[in-house]
């Protein structure tokens, strides 16, 4: 379980299961599928992303989906791991 922090300023739009994320820091645009809403909500709240806390508070969320999404976001330079 790790804690991540947002390292980029982003904008996003969600249509159904598809989201388009614009990384204002890099200028890159990404199409991502099946990103749990909680991840974008956490961005809106300008929070760090505590994996453990999310899993405890949102038990209905598929943990693997969260983990995959986190990995994608790290690859997109949106998040970085600050604590394992």
């Amino acid at each position: 379980m790790a804690i991540y922090r947002w390292i980029s300023e982003i904008s996003y739009v969600k249509w159904g299961v598809s989201s388009v994320i614009y990384n204002a820091s890099s200028g890159n645009t990404y199409l991502v599928e099946n990103i749990p809403s909680i991840m974008m909500e956490k961005y809106s709240a300008n929070c760090c992303f505590n994996e453990k806390e999310i899993f405890q508070n949102y038990t209905a969320i598929d943990e693997q989906l969260i983990t995959d999404s986190l990995n994608s976001f790290v690859k997109m330079d949106l998040l970085e791991k600050v604590e394992d």
Partner: protein, 305 residues
Amino acid sequence: MKINNRDIRHTLKSSGLVLDIGFFKFNICSSLQSIEETISTLYCDYVHTEYDNVEELVDFHVQVRQVKQILSPPFFNSQAQFFLDNTAPFTPLPIQHAPAIIEWGMNWCVSSQINTHLIIHAAVMEKNGFAVVMPAPPGSGKSTLTASLIQEGWRLLSDELTLIQLDTYQVSPFPRPVSLKNESISVIKNRYPDVVFGPVSSDTAKGTVCHIRPPTLSVKNQHIDCPIGWIIFPKYQVDAETEFLPFGKAQTLMNVAENCFNYSVLGQLGFDVLKNVVDRADCYQFKYSNLDEAVSIFSKLEPPK
């Protein structure tokens, strides 16, 4: 003020002819007969003004000049070159390509110099108050479809460059001659015998290129902006069954962004504009081989919800 054809040659050779095209004013100079022919054939419905009489600012001062390489042998054919503000952004091409050179050059002026709009490489037309945007790579049949639809009552807003206002998300028309290539030329000639064709440029990098005159009404209404109703990705495929299918908005945004000239230049603003445009539009992918069916499908488009 319009000037007559007799004056066009003199004006093109002297201070230049100012053409009022949508949002922009072009001052065009050239002593080439094929350019004179292009202007008098394809641009007769536009407002022509002599540069000396223009009170407002001109956006682009363009020229197509005959040039000759200094070390070229005497038998070497002369060439034509496009200039913007006396600077040549491209290498010269055979002089018989001059009609295509000026059209390509004018497109380049807007697509490379303008950031007051989000610019998409896409055809755009209007009917019943809504615009259909058709982004597509070369060879997708975009211009053939556009040339057909504008003969069927659609208003031409642009064949190549969709200009989207950054605050209202509406299209600013930029109606110019529609570029047809190779087989498309005879397809449109046979289908619509009354269409006026400009001079032909043969053996260009794109094959044989010829432009057709935009409908008079499209030119007359070139200052009327239009909201976007549909984004459609056309694909011509020989013998294909007609297919008109909804296309995901997220993928639409990505595809349109890839076809933008200045999306990355505009940064966050570009994303916000595109997000709003796609959100309001109905999005489709369209495969066709039969123009009658294509025209019929477009005529049945329902206004976006």
